[in-house]
């Protein structure tokens, strides 16, 4: 018997390939589908179209301009309000617990006679960094991610993509970018990973580079603090949480506007090209599965993101403590750096302390506010600041020369500035390119400087500040 070697088979395949018609792939898929259809027809019975009719009615409601667009805004508002008002209480409880544990640890170290700098470094630096990040980040995420997953499970999110696609098309981007933007509210790094649903490389890159323009949970605390102290304080206390949420929604919408603008700019300059292949499945509405929602949102998303944030928060906490405890002149190193940065900060309508806080907080944006408070109050570790918003107002405005311009520009800066270290790493991992990771920093930071500089200049020219 003649033996056939693998090479013979390959050679035979090579010759047969040339005789194939060009449409043979279509034929293969077609035959697979007709076989599947045959099987399904034998096994599946469809009772009635009632479900389909209901889906149709809902679809018309959520995609019409008169009900669909307002609904999107209302849902966004509700989620942010839930996050803002719900997280507040939980954050405080967690903070009390964790800071209490920290006190215990510090006392223990003092009792066994450890040197002050070991106690300080470990408990006031590393541990405090972790405690801050957990207490600030965990509650909003534990509220936001289940809400997001609920809408996802319900089947509503693809409709948002459907509604907004025309805008993305105008910007030369992909409609599914609205999904990755929504994910960015939870965590920009998670949003960058979520861009995998966009299959065109050009449009995916646009989604990655602009994801940072939606503020994530880690940046909410800064926005909420500013909204509460500078905006909501002018209203009755009962309305505080609504006004704060409303202000944050406003800032978020500015961020969305920047997303479109940047996408448009990118697709006309460095990422030139036409909008391409857009296919979006609109799944039938499903009753959300509570167990799955909790599992996905808590385990896959919240814990995952928190763990990553903790890894970067610990070293950041250490550095902050060191800066605050090395004496320099008549204060400490942190104060000295802040003073040195101050002229530049003032040009941008900010100040040196804010810039310092943002430089130290590159690993984790959650610690911006405690770091600012630490420097303003001359403390040796991150602190909560005055307990009431009136106290904070007094400290910032009367004690450190803040104006309304500082508050507005800090909001803009918090919205536009560079991605956190985790997000930058994620961008590198997803694009496999340091070039694009660098571009993402340059774009955002450049825009943040430009916008704050412009608002500051305009405000000063008009005599507002």
């Amino acid at each position: 018997m003649e033996t056939i070697s693998p090479n013979d088979i390959l050679a035979k395949a090579e010759t047969l390939r040339n005789s194939l018609s060009t449409g043979f792939r279509d034929e293969i898929v077609k035959s697979i589908y007709s076989e599947a259809e045959r099987v399904a027809h034998r096994a599946v019975k469809t009772a009635s179209d009632k479900k389909y009719d209901l889906d149709q009615k809902i679809d018309r409601l959520v995609t019409s301009p008169w009900t669909g667009l307002p609904l999107m805004l209302v849902l966004l508002g509700i989620i942010i309000w839930l996050t803002v008002s719900g997280a507040n209480v939980a954050s405080e409880a967690i903070a009390n617990l964790l800071f209490g544990l920290g006190d215990l640890g510090r006392n223990l170290f003092n009792q066994i006679g450890a040197p002050w700098w070991i106690t300080g470094f470990i408990w006031d630096g590393v541990y405090l960094g972790l405690a801050w990040v957990i207490s600030v980040m965990l509650p909003p995420m534990a509220i936001f991610f289940p809400a997001f997953t609920f809408l996802e499970d319900l089947g509503y999110l693809p409709r948002v993509a459907f509604n907004l696609d025309w805008l993305f098309k105008k910007a030369g981007a992909h409609g599914k970018q609205s999904l990755t933007m929504a994910m960015g509210f939870g965590c920009n790094a998670a949003g960058v990973v979520a861009t995998r649903v966009i299959d065109s490389p050009r449009e995916r890159l646009i989604a990655i580079l602009t994801n940072n323009f939606v503020p994530c949970n880690g940046r909410f605390p800064t926005l909420i603090m500013l909204a509460t102290v500078f905006v909501a304080s002018a209203f009755p206390p009962a309305l505080t949480s609504f006004i704060a949420a409303g202000t944050v929604v406003g800032v978020v919408l500015i961020g969305v506007a920047f997303t479109f603008f940047m996408s448009w700019l990118l697709s006309r300059t460095v990422l030139k090209g036409e909008a391409s292949a857009f296919t979006l499945e609109l799944p039938p509405y499903r009753k959300p599965n509570l167990g799955r929602i909790l599992y996905t949102s808590i385990i896959d998303r919240t814990i995952f993101v928190l763990w990553r944030a903790m890894q970067t928060a610990a070293p950041a906490g250490a550095i902050i403590w060191i800066l605050a405890n090395i004496p320099y002149g008549d204060a400490n190193l942190a104060r000295a750096i802040a003073d040195w940065l101050n002229p530049f900060g003032l040009i941008l309508g900010l100040d040196g302390v804010i810039l310092l806080a943002y430089i130290i907080a590159i690993p984790a944006n959650e610690i911006v506010v405690p770091t600012m408070m630490m420097v303003y109050m001359g403390a040796g570790m991150m602190i909560d600041g005055p307990g009431t918003s009136a106290g904070i107002f007094d400290l910032l405005v009367n004690g450190n020369g803040w104006t309304m311009l500082t508050a507005v520009n800090l909001m803009l800066f918090a919205l536009l500035h560079n991605p956190c270290a985790t997000t930058i790493m994620t961008i590198y991992k997803e694009t496999k390119s340091w070039k694009w990771a660098t571009v993402s920093v340059v774009i955002t930071l450049g825009l943040a400087f430009l916008v704050t500089f412009l608002t500051a200049s305009v405000a000063r020219l008009l005599g507002w500040a």
Binding site: R25, D26, N163, S200, A277, F278, T279, L280, L282, P284
Partner: protein, 331 residues
């Protein structure tokens, strides 16, 4: 001391082998030179396929370089045995033709890739392929070819040379062997003998024209393209090669693009446009948009697009430029 350090640094930056500035400039110029040579070879091949001869002037015009540089370029290529000049005319040697086909293959495979996988707009791919076609090895091209599923034609419909360096010429048969009532497309005009070729061109027949035989007898052939009639002697007509009009175009004539379907109007998918290849086609097929499938628009965005279509029990939203590539027949 500082001067010495500065001088050494500058010297290193300039003269370091491989990464020094001079070495870089040399590499760059070598690559540029090779690119120019390959472009010239391609131009010669192109001319030969058109039955014309390339001249130093035509090279200068196509490559957009000065006359004196062309002379040097030609001397250079001739010295490598890739072309030979007879009078003012330039011809490819066997080796030169092999090389030219290699570059042409690279160009057309790249066009296929840019159109199908990178999904660049069609009017941009030629320029991009022009930049990328150089400095590829045979093995690299074979890999690209396999990754693209061994395409036969580039996105403009031109044949891609095979790995053996053969042009997959459009086959066809002489119109004298063609069935009288069957529509046909001219795929090749034989240019030898020249007299017959002249007559065909003078009659107004051209490549790619769709024609039909109106009358044939031993004395003459009458062909029609639907508007005008062409009368030719059988000996001349035998130099016209035709093949069947692609099935897809016949199907298209009775179909409308999916975008023109009214709301809730049911239709059957006839075919996916031939211009949809690679990634987009695979995605369409994956979604079940196969010929014969029932489809209807069920939801339209308030700005006109995207529209959602119900197909196989699922709702799939498409932008209009995608939907326009799906041909359907209302039922």
């Amino acid at each position: 001391m500082y001067y010495l350090a500065a001088v050494i640094t500058v010297a290193l930056i300039l003269f370091l082998p491989r990464i020094g500035l001079l070495a870089r400039i040399k590499d760059y110029r070598a690559a540029k030179e090779r690119e120019q040579m390959e472009d010239a070879l391609k131009h010669l091949l192109d001319r030969e396929n058109q039955g014309r001869h390339a001249t130093p002037e035509s090279i200068a015009g196509t490559l957009d370089i000065a006359r004196d540089k062309v002379t040097r370029l030609i001397e250079n290529i001739e010295a490598q045995g890739l072309i030979e000049s007879r009078g003012n005319n330039l011809h490819l040697t066997a080796e030169g033709e092999r090389w030219a086909l290699h570059v042409l293959r690279a160009h057309r495979l790249w066009e296929r890739y840019l159109a199908d996988e990178a999904r660049m707009p069609l009017n941009k791919i030629h320029g991009e392929a022009q930049r990328r076609e150089h400095n590829f090895t045979e093995a690299q091209l074979n890999e690209l070819d396999a990754a693209l599923g061994h395409p036969i034609r580039d996105p403009h419909g031109d044949p891609i040379p095979s790995r053996e360096g053969k042009m997959n010429r459009a086959e066809g048969m002489s119109i004298t062997a063609w069935q009288a009532d069957r529509p046909a497309r001219i795929v090749h005009l034989e240019d030898e003998p020249a007299l017959a070729y002249q007559q065909i061109l003078a009659a107004g027949l051209r490549l790619g024209q769709d024609i039909r035989i109106i009358e044939k007898n031993p004395n003459r052939y009458i062909l029609s393209d639907g508007e005008s009639e062409f009368k030719l002697a059988p000996a001349v007509a035998s130099n016209i090669f035709v093949s069947a009009i692609p099935e897809s175009e016949m199907l298209k004539r009775e179909a409308i693009p999916l975008t023109e379907l009214a709301h809730d109007q049911r239709a059957q998918i006839v075919m996916l446009d031939d211009s949809v290849q690679g990634f987009t086609r695979r995605r369409f097929l994956d979604l079940g948009l196969t010929p014969g499938t029932t489809i209807f628009p069920e939801l339209t965005n308030f700005f006109g697009e995207p529209r959602a279509y119900r197909v196989r029990g699922t709702s799939i939203a498409l932008r209009n430029d995608q939907a326009a590539q799906i041909w359907v027949k209302p039922v």
